[in-house]
Amino acid sequence: MTTSLFSTRGADPTTAPAFLAPLEGRDAALDGSALPVVADLRARGRARFAAVGLPTVKNEAWRYTNLRELAKQTIGPVGDSAATPVDRLPTVRRDGAGPRLVFVDGRFRADLSTIQGLPTGVLLTDFASACRDHADLVAAHLGRLASADDRPLVALNSADLTDGVVLRVGAGVAVADPIELVYVTVGREGVTASSHPRALIVLETGARAVLVEHHISQGGAAVLSNHVAEITIGEGATLHHCKVQRENDATFHLSHIAASVATNGVYDNFILTLGARLSRNEVVSALDGRDARTHVSGGYMVRGHQHADISTIIDHAQPNGTSREVYKGVIDDHGRAAFQGKIIVRPHAQKTDGHQLNRALLLSDSAEIDAKPELQIFADDVKCSHGCTVGELDDDALFYLRARGIDKETARGLLIGAFLADVLDEIAETTVRDAFQGCIAGWLEEQR
């Protein structure tokens, strides 16, 4: 499965040393170093990133997202986050007592985490423990779906591979409760602390799970969060994977999710982007088995000088696959968004049904969006569609609401909420939908 979003053209190797410097001399001390697969991947990642550096806008895949500001940061290692107190931990659960792993600046915090309430057959653990206790699982999946060769930021993540999450749901096991991952960035004064968490997620045949990720900041320090997730969906397995990112507006949030879906499997991904100075969410979902389904969707809300990038690749590699993709975005002030949606239908993937929709609402004259849908269809018996709209708030509707006594800001909030409302329907889990609805309401409240 090689879907190249990136070639080495349009990258700047001179940026590499600043990002690799914080890693110098740490090798031996890093968890998992004893595992050859980990040591190899780090070495390869380091070599690769040293050779290419950060991507530039000259690269087609990065045309709309400029990492120039990231390149200017003074990059440093994360501080000692082992004892940093954390004020509040978000959850979608009303009782607040489910399985949850917490990471502070990318480092696992056992003291804040709980793995209670999981059925037998489920492994939920941090990367170092997995390297120690489940070396075969790590060896089988690490670096399999996300290639350090293809993408510089995956290479950088690999170079600093230290911590993260490993989740395996055994054959036939259904986990009813959402499993939550909370990533808290704290950072350090004076440098942009970089962390590179990795997630390995494996659902075996017929397994089902709901995974919810929260990304938040504590304080206002600038950080670089550079996530990579490798997700294997077995035959007939279903993963609902929902993520909300509310990091502070000094943060650089980069994420690459690579999923492979086997026959009759379902990978469902929803990402709500509210925070960060610059964010990029890459989702690559490959339908590698027949009758597989994937559903990738989300909302992005951008204001101030924020930049949000959603770049997706749906790769239909086998027949009878179904993909559905729905994104909605709201862009205010000097905010910028980029949406790139590629659907590939390989020659063998007959009877594919693919649908993509991106709708954006621009709230100010200086708000911008770049949208690039891209269909690459090599099979002849397929249904594929894409749609893209960019609009503004309806003046008639705004006046109608105001003429009923509703002040301008509340009226705008109602209309923005209404615009976003149906994208939340893409979330199958009610608890998650309600929690994300609350995050959007909070964003709108701050908007006033």
């Binding site: 509707a397 609401l401 105001r402 003429a403 509703i406 909420g417």
Partner: protein, 250 residues
Amino acid sequence: MIEIKNLHAKVDGKDILKGVDLTIRPGEVHAIMGPNGAGKSTLSYVLAGRDGYEVTDGSVTYYGKDLLAMEPEERAAEGVFLAFQYPVEIPGVANTTFLKTAINAIRKHRGEKELDAMQFLKLLREKTKALGMSDEMLKRAVNVGFSGGEKKRNETLQMAVLEPKFAILDETDSGLDIDALKIVAEGVNALRSPERSMLVITHYQRLLDYIVPDYVHVLAAGRVVKSGGKDLALELEKNGYRDFGVDEAA
């Protein structure tokens, strides 16, 4: 009391209102009739405060306040209500949410306590029953998928809930069959009171059979050219607007 004096307004750089004078006292119902293009809808939008309608001269004094200096939501909170000729569809906003937000915004402005969910529902049930509206219409998005009659009933419901001091009914009869017209007119008549003024804007006399005005004014080419009692409407019905230099048949 509402006093419109020498009101001039432009839309897209074009003079539409050219000196409208009109005084409406509490409890009075005034009808404004006139041919297409006379400026009837412009007058209603200027009074409600819509963007894009530029007042170039004159004044509107509303119970001693300068109405034209207020934002649309302030006017609504002060008791001005425009029943739209073409009520706007707002996908994604439930009718109940809309009504509750509106009534509480207005109550807040008046220094009254906001209604909680239970109080609001009780009020709403009362008002919808009188207008023969279903609960289903309240759950739907504002005006989305409503028939012409349902939209006008929804306007009337909003008026009943918000209890304005000054209601402007812009072509309320347009798009209504006679049964729908009767229901809407009954709803409006139920709201007539000694404290509430109404300005009924219409092209046809028909509506005035059901909402009987105290005064009738003819608006032509941006000015009130004739005023009289309710009989003036009948006269217009018979002779058309020819007497005012307008030949609608042309």
